[in-house]
């Protein structure tokens, strides 16, 4: 099915400069759709949840990008598909030119060893019955590092890198004996263990205390620089993005609505949704207490039957009658390298 809108969309993405930037592309997401089937009484088909619906982007080696959006906008489904935990319904993900759809068995294991995953809730991500030593040893055993001395050497090295020293004090401990920040460091150490090329960090600091957040973000940043890692940082908090990523993708209801370098996005947010997100983010200022924030009415739409046309139109204050609810906006480029899917910029 290739309706005019869909073609426009795909072309828009190509124009968006997210593709064809030569051979230093690490990960290429191509028209990715992840739909989950709804069943009635366990077998009758009752539609799909369109969690990710036509996402395109390229990630280069040692590039950091952020994906920003509310809960339920599909960012976690996108991430899990990149981690090969979900299979794409349509579209493809290429890692170093190879399609994830084609990977099986050993190859899949190899792919997974090259992608590190930093979970949102560090306590939930660490097995409570394993010591830190075992937590850090297990991925190595699974990936065939048979030499005990080598395993030990490696885990000590990553523990030093995440600044959990003296290492010997921490290795025999269990996750519940560590503070939230330390647990998150162990999670990061585990993600770094197999020398990945890509780290996917799913809200790595949202469960942590405000005073520790910056510390963990700086740690991730320094690891990224030291190892030339590519990082996908997923968050709903725009204020932390600035210290971490060069490029931001704003996601709404399964689609990327804006794609821009972070500074341009903060200076000049184009999509009304991005505008709303920025306006809702507060900086410490006593004057906040006396003014109300502009928040778009309503809630994110159901992804079972997403709105026609632009998915933001039912909440949008700047809707163009007769256009926004009818036709899906392609990507426009109001300034260089800044792409937005909104009819206001036609």
């Amino acid at each position: 099915m290739n309706t005019p809108t869909e073609t426009a969309q795909t072309e828009g993405a190509v124009v968006a400069g997210t593709r064809g930037s030569g051979d230093n592309v690490l990960l290429s997401v191509q028209d990715l759709r992840v739909w989950f089937e709804l069943r009635r009484f366990g077998f009758g088909h009752a539609g799909y949840v369109h969690a990710v619906d036509g996402v395109n982007f390229d990630l280069h080696y040692s590039e950091t990008i952020a994906i920003v959006g509310e809960s339920g906008c599909g960012k976690s489904s996108l991430m899990k598909t990149i981690l090969a935990l979900h299979r794409p319904t349509k579209g493809d993900i290429l890692f170093e030119g190879q399609s994830l759809n084609a990977l099986r068995g050993r190859e899949m294991q190899k792919y997974r060893s090259q992608v590190g995953y930093v979970q949102q809730d560090p306590y939930g991500a660490l097995a409570p019955f394993m010591s830190i030593q075992r937590i850090l040893e297990e991925p190595q055993i699974i990936n065939g590092i048979k030499n005990k001395a080598e395993r030990d050497d490696r885990l000590r090295r990553v523990m030093e890198e995440v600044k959990m020293s003296p290492v010997d004090d921490f290795l025999p401990k269990f996750p519940h004996m560590l503070s939230g920040g330390q647990q998150q460091r162990v999670v990061i150490a585990r993600a770094m263990l197999l020398e990945p090329k890509l780290i996917v960090a799913d809200e790595p600091v949202s469960m942590l205390d405000a005073s520790v957040r910056v510390e963990i973000l700086k740690l991730l940043r320094s690891l990224q620089e030291a190892h030339d890692l590519a990082v996908i940082y997923i968050t709903h908090d725009l204020s932390t993005v600035r210290y971490f990523s060069e490029r931001v993708f704003v996601m709404y209801a399964g689609k990327i609505v804006e794609n821009s370098p972070i500074n341009a996005l903060i200076r000049n947010p184009c999509h009304p949704y991005t505008d709303a997100l920025l306006a809702a983010t507060s900086d410490p200022d006593a004057n906040n207490a006396t003014r109300f924030r502009d928040v778009p009415p309503g809630e994110p739409p159901s992804l079972v039957k997403p709105p026609s046309g632009c998915r933001f139109h039912p909440r949008c204050a700047r809707k163009i009658e007769g256009l926004c609810e009818v036709e899906e906006p392609p990507y426009f480029e109001p300034e260089s390298k800044h792409f937005v899917a909104c009819w206001l910029y036609r």
Binding site: E70, A210, S211, S239, T281, D283, P284, A289, R293, E299
Partner: protein
Amino acid sequence: MSEMPLLHVEDLKLYFRTGKGTVRAVDGVNFDLESNHAVVIVGESGCGKTSMAKAILRLLPRNVDTYSGHIYLNGVDTMAYNEEEYRRQIRWRKMSMVPQAAMNALNPVLKVGDQVAEPSIIHSAMRKEEALEQASKMFQHVGVPQDFLHRYAFELSGGMRQRVAIAMALVTWPDLIVLDEPTSALDVLTQANIFNVLKELKGELGLSFILITHDIATSSELADSVAVMYAGQIVETGDAHRFFAEPLHPYSRKLMDSVPRLRGTQEPDFIVGQPPSLINPPTGCRFAARCPQCFSRCAEEPPTVAEDGRTVKCWLHVK
């Protein structure tokens, strides 16, 4: 002090017995709250913020070791009430609470309307129909559609559940609501929405709030005054305008520096080390071990210095 503020907390202590020793979760806390004001209590996790909220509402677990001090509400010392009197006259009648992760605090097998009506039935001895009517009025105040009265918690989004929890705290028309991390699990837009609701309630109903949070940036959305808590003690209090412009205590300054800002270019910093254990808190200033401006006098317990309406517990400000 000629006239008592709405809430006056004096030397409040709450210690817990544990296997490892006595945990001094709240260790001599003093603060005031004026009527129709909001005070924000900020601090890291484990500094005793939630314990303090529970101490104010007397929602205590079984392993309490010491519970002492004075809590004056409208000039009356509530600590003098026994449990039954307290329950009948204070809890939910005068003060109520929105618990942490309130979105998960709703009963999954009761309709949310019935849950919101329940406090009126129990505390105000209303009939069920009256109570439901009251609940629907509250839903209007917090911006939940009327037909949600007959829904279950799982049918509501996180933001709506949070509003329902606020409605539940509001339904008996208390003077003071304690909000424990009301938005930490929510998205930015929902967060902004909830704060809009709270600001409206403050303006329309003349409510007072105690807002407990670790997030300074969002705390500024509601704050008239700020109290900074560290290791069971309040180290700084002051009005919001001056606090956000220039915090006095080194801990408050560090905390302020650690806030990632959307606007502005300053690099955020973090506080090295961890808060001390509350089982054996260090003598002297409890922040000394992490303080960049620590000097010899910090080995002694610092006094609380009052400077034109602000207080700070730090030797640096002793003249």
